[in-house]
Amino acid sequence: MPTPTSRGSLLLLLPIALILAIAAALFAWVGGWFGHHDLTPQKMMDTAEASGKQQPGFRRAHSKGICFAGTFSPTAEAAKLSTARAFSQSSIPVIGRFSASSNNPYTPDGASPVRGMAVQIKTDDGQEWRIAMNSFPFFAASTPQGFQQMNEAGMPDPANGKPDPNKMKALLAAHPEIAAFQAWAKTAPRSDSLGNTRFNGVNAFRLTDAQGAERMVRWSMRPRLPFAAMTADQAKDENFLSQDLNSRLAAGPLVWDMVVQIAAPGDPITDPSKAWPDTRQEAILATLSLTHVEAQADGPCRDLNFDPLILPTGIAASDDPVLHARSAAYSVSFNRREREISQGKSAYPTSQNGSAR
């Protein structure tokens, strides 16, 4: 039993308090409460939410969507490139989602040339692969910081309701690659159907084959239907794409070929704003046959996070910073909207007639 004289001085409480304060500060710093984080996925999603009136329960970007179901059937060629089970299982039922680009779930289909396609592939070995693609041929920016600055520059100035041209100039000076995307967006042809839209996974991934050989690839879903331009009548109809899907699917499935470009030495692996030359070696990995669509309000794609880094063995991420940022940002978007749904704040229409598709 210690006697009172053997006790240490109460002044020793000071170093104890200091140790605890340092530990707490370190934890808060790592958690981004202060200091070093110039850009976080939370900040990116704050900006996305501010880009238009955010509807609770909806995605922070690509809010308007429609769920689909179909079949993913790999080719014999695919199994030579990657050991992923998705490339050896003969036919896999999949679900997915088409989307329009803004955070407005009621945006008119003709408003933007940017359309999205996401797919969830669950194979019989228990693994899962989620794919998120877009209709643009290359990403707007080389880095998430550039993308964020672009979105900030595009926000209306509260003074006059228009984006500040000086911010746009500063953006293009700091991230010149964005000019190429803006040029694409101005002239990009809008097709008359999702069924003839090509979707590109603009980020690179690493495929590993049975011998352990690795190839860097970028994939795209190339429609079997030829391109046809959106008509003037369609442009007036906010939901022409879902109506078109319904009528086409009544006649039979819509089919895309999943094609990979295989990088050559020196190709920009980590820069999604730079397309690889069309002359790169290609391989058809699979066909996606789409048979069924349903409204996202009560469809199975609504509460899935199509995180592009949910990958099976045999497919791995590249070091593309935009790919990693997409994964981080989608997670924040998912957490926020699922939270809103759980709090009963969802803005989803309860009847399908209130269509947010």
Partner: protein
């Protein structure tokens, strides 16, 4: 009852190894949710480490409940005794609950739960946005509670070692 002077070897091994693992886990978790670049790599570590902590916590709880433990000093004020008991059971509760909530949360979020080399854990809850929407913030809030409880635990341990200079710190730091 004849109580030992120290915690048994298993308890001491589990205490110090889990202290490291849980602190690493808390820092990984706090960092990964704000990281634009390293979320996937940190998450790939966070999931199996969390399950490892769950398994170790079960062994530790059994050892704690079935083996005699050293007594607190007889002259420790009752309020400090109560705080010691409450904080220890809070620590046990959180080290079991955090991995289970993480597992349940991923299940309710419709996420796959990969461990190593293509091995996946099954879902323990059905896919539900309502449940995920509650469990996800709960996981984060309890992580901060766990960190604060660990800080309190560390502060108390140092108080016993440096100020009171009683036997409490040695009960976990040394063997017989």
């Amino acid at each position: 009852m004849n109580r030992p002077r120290h915690f048994n070897l298993l308890a001491r091994l589990l205490h110090w190894s889990m202290a490291l693992a849980i602190l690493a886990m808390l820092f990984v978790g706090a960092g990964m949710v704000v990281s634009l670049r390293h979320r996937d790599a940190l998450l790939a570590l966070h999931r199996p480490l969390g399950i490892a902590i769950l398994l170790l916590a079960i062994v530790r709880l059994i050892n704690r409940l079935t083996r005699p433990t050293p007594a607190l000093p007889a002259d420790l004020p009752p309020i400090q005794k109560a705080a010691a008991h409450a904080s220890h059971w809070l620590l046990y509760g959180l080290m079991l609950a955090m991995p289970l909530i993480g597992w349940a949360m991923l299940s309710a979020g419709g996420y796959p739960i990969p461990m190593f080399g293509g091995v996946h854990l099954p879902a323990i809850l059905p896919h539900s946005p309502e449940v995920y929407g509650w469990l996800r913030p709960l996981h984060g809030a309890l992580a901060y509670l766990l960190f604060l409880t660990i800080l309190g635990h560390l502060g108390a341990a140092l108080y016993h070692a440096w100020v009171r200079r009683d036997e409490v710190f040695g009960q976990m730091a040394k063997g017989d």
